[in-house]
Amino acid sequence: MRQPLEGSQAIARAVVAARAQVVAAYPITPQTHIVEHIARMVADGAASCELVSVESEFSAASVVLGAAMAGSRAYTATASQGLLLMGEVLYNIAGLRVPLVMTVANRALSAPLSIWNDQQDSMAMRDAGWVQLYCSDNQEAVDTTIQAFRIAETLEVPVMVCVDGFTLTHTLEAIELPEQEVVDRFLPPYRFARALDPLHPKTFGTLVGPEYYAEMRELHHRALLAALEVIPRVDEEWAAATGRASGGLLRMEGDSEARTGVLTLGSIFGTLADAREVYADCRPLRLVHLRCFRPFPAAALRAAAAGLERLVVLERAISPGAGGIVTAEVRAALAELDRPPQVHGFAVGLGGRDVPLDLLPRLLASLPPRPGPFRIFDLDVQKLPEGGS
């Protein structure tokens, strides 16, 4: 049954349906509603998890690390500054190969302070060794949250589910919440082979010398690469159980005969899909939603780019002094094609700047014959100081 739910509430319901046993979190906008909804369910007896309201995001990540290692399914959520504060723990969780799920309510980073949406936060953590899945709407956020536990526990790797702050977390949509029995069949009780156990004592997190460290990193790399098989399979199984797929590694919409494509991550995808409907001049156009950014689905991306002459990458982050983050990876992956499309890279929607429907026709009309340097597309140059930096 579809019901109107705020994104955060829907995600909270999904976490409870996944029977997370330990939830630890620290409040930060725009993540707070998720944890408040879980706390409300705990208070009302509708959820039986241990809710640990910690004194920092650093401890939130550490609590779920300890909980998962002690044999419980664990979940946390954060955003922005909180994600950066977690940074050291995130790398540690991944290196220890702890299966965990975290929602990132994507938000810009300070300074200057901004509480609004972009994806600089999760992009800053792209090398932490977590799976990163981006959601284009709140139904995907619900379904991906539940899938994330399966992926994490299958591969013993942590999974970050990225949802655009406010745009998704604070927006009401008609959501289909899965039945509890469906979730239970899809997600068996948490079993972690390496859990701490007094009858089978094991030592974790040891000092590793140069003679073993590289091999440990290789194993971690392989586990992430294995997710390229597991993520689409889990999505197919979820689709078989519920009738809804979330887009595997990436999802395409639009015209197969198109020579132009636009690739993005997160809620902008929905805006682009609507814009493609509204603006006939923009068609034929192929839209690509890069649901999975880590591991990077290079082969799937090459298949998705077949026949394209140009691909525009829209990302909500920038690597100052370098340019595009996603753009650089997309360009590198497509360079292996015999006739790679030209890749144009732009940042849009930084710090919550609105991404309107008419951005699409303006963008396509402005594309130069050959890709120029990466730039912020929706910049208002009149606000910049003359000749300033």
Binding site: V22, E55, P201, K202, G205, L207, G209
Partner: protein
């Protein structure tokens, strides 16, 4: 016996002195921390799991692929031990298990970088015994001063020189800060008093809720004394009043190890290289010695350490007897 047929009760009964940290680790000769950790586990093991902070204890017990631990043990990071332990406890609670969670950290990981996570763990009432092995400096990185380093002690980042007499600041009164959390049990202990360490571990684990144990653990390398003198040095820290052994319940003092005749602090200081500059012919050195004596006197006064006639004291409270169980 296979693992499948062993119950934890049997295991405990068959090993009255459970050895959770076994031999073969790489601690220095005379390491107080290695001894202290062994003593804690003798009283606490084997139905425990440990969250261990980064530090000497972590490094010398677990050079991959070896481990000296016979209990489940997890090292995550330097500054999150209280939170990792809290997560373990929350998980065990969610699973309805009775396994006890121990958190181990050094003074750097406890007084300094891990302090926030520890405070949060205590405030939220997680049933964890947090043990701080206090060797009064960052020994793992090579003897840098911490907020636990005693006043006037020389370390590599608070060296004694023409313009400085070692550390300029006081040792942080961590016990009072812990006590302000009003947790069920907090205590200090010393490796010189092994039965007292065990007793306090048992007491901590007998009470519901969080507990904290600060174990004074000499570091021969960092303190500048022979490894064979570790116990003597640790005992003198107690006997001078510089490291009082006290117990607090809900923030109130409920027990102290009394001193019949407190020894002058110089007895303790003169054995250690880190205080050698205080014995130079220098008025500033004499001033610092007087300062340290005043700190010891203040401890004695504050905790009422002077033994009253007929009371137990440090001479008889913890005499080590070997070769039998009749005193156990």
């Amino acid at each position: 016996m296979t693992n499948e047929t062993v119950s934890l009760d049997n295991l405990r009964a068959n090993q009255p002195r459970f050895s959770g940290l076994t031999s073969g680790h790489r601690a220095c000769l005379g390491c107080g921390q290695a001894l202290a950790a062994r003593l804690v586990l003798e009283a606490a093991g084997p139905d425990v799991m440990i969250a261990n902070a980064t530090g000497c204890l972590e490094i010398f017990t677990t050079p991959w692929p070896e481990s000296a631990w016979r209990v489940p043990w997890l090292h995550s990071l330097f500054e999150n031990t209280g939170a990792v332990a809290a997560g373990m406890e929350a998980a065990l609670k969610a699973q309805g298990k009775s396994t006890r969670v121990l958190a181990f950290g050094g003074d750097g990981g406890t007084f300094d970088i891990g302090f926030q996570a520890l405070s949060g763990m205590l405030e939220r009432g997680h049933e964890v015994l947090y043990v701080c092995f206090d060797n009064e400096a960052y020994m793992n990185t090579g003897i840098q001063r911490s907020s636990s380093t005693p006043h006037a002690a020389a370390t590599t980042t608070s060296p004694a020189g023409r313009a400085r007499m070692g550390k300029r600041h006081l040792k942080k009164d961590i016990l009072s800060i812990i006590a302000a959390h009003h947790i069920p049990y907090a205590a200090t202990a010393s490796v010189a008093y092994p039965a007292d360490v065990r007793k306090k571990v048992r007491r901590a684990l007998a009470l519901p809720g969080p507990s904290f144990l600060l174990v004074h653990s000499p570091c021969p390398l960092g303190w500048g004394h022979e490894g064979a003198l570790s116990i003597e040095v640790a005992r003198l820290a107690v006997e001078t009043g510089l490291f009082p052994l006290v117990e607090l319940e809900r923030g109130s003092v409920v027990g102290v190890l009394p001193l019949r005749e407190p020894k002058p602090v110089t007895e303790y200081l003169k054995l250690q290289g880190r205080f050698a500059h205080l014995f130079a012919d220098d008025p500033r050195a004499r001033e610092e010695l007087a300062h340290l004596q005043a700190l010891a006197d203040a401890n004695i006064e504050r905790y009422g350490l002077r033994a009253t006639a007929g009371g137990l004291d440090t001479e008889s409270a913890d005499t080590v007897r070997r070769g039998g169980g009749q005193w156990a």
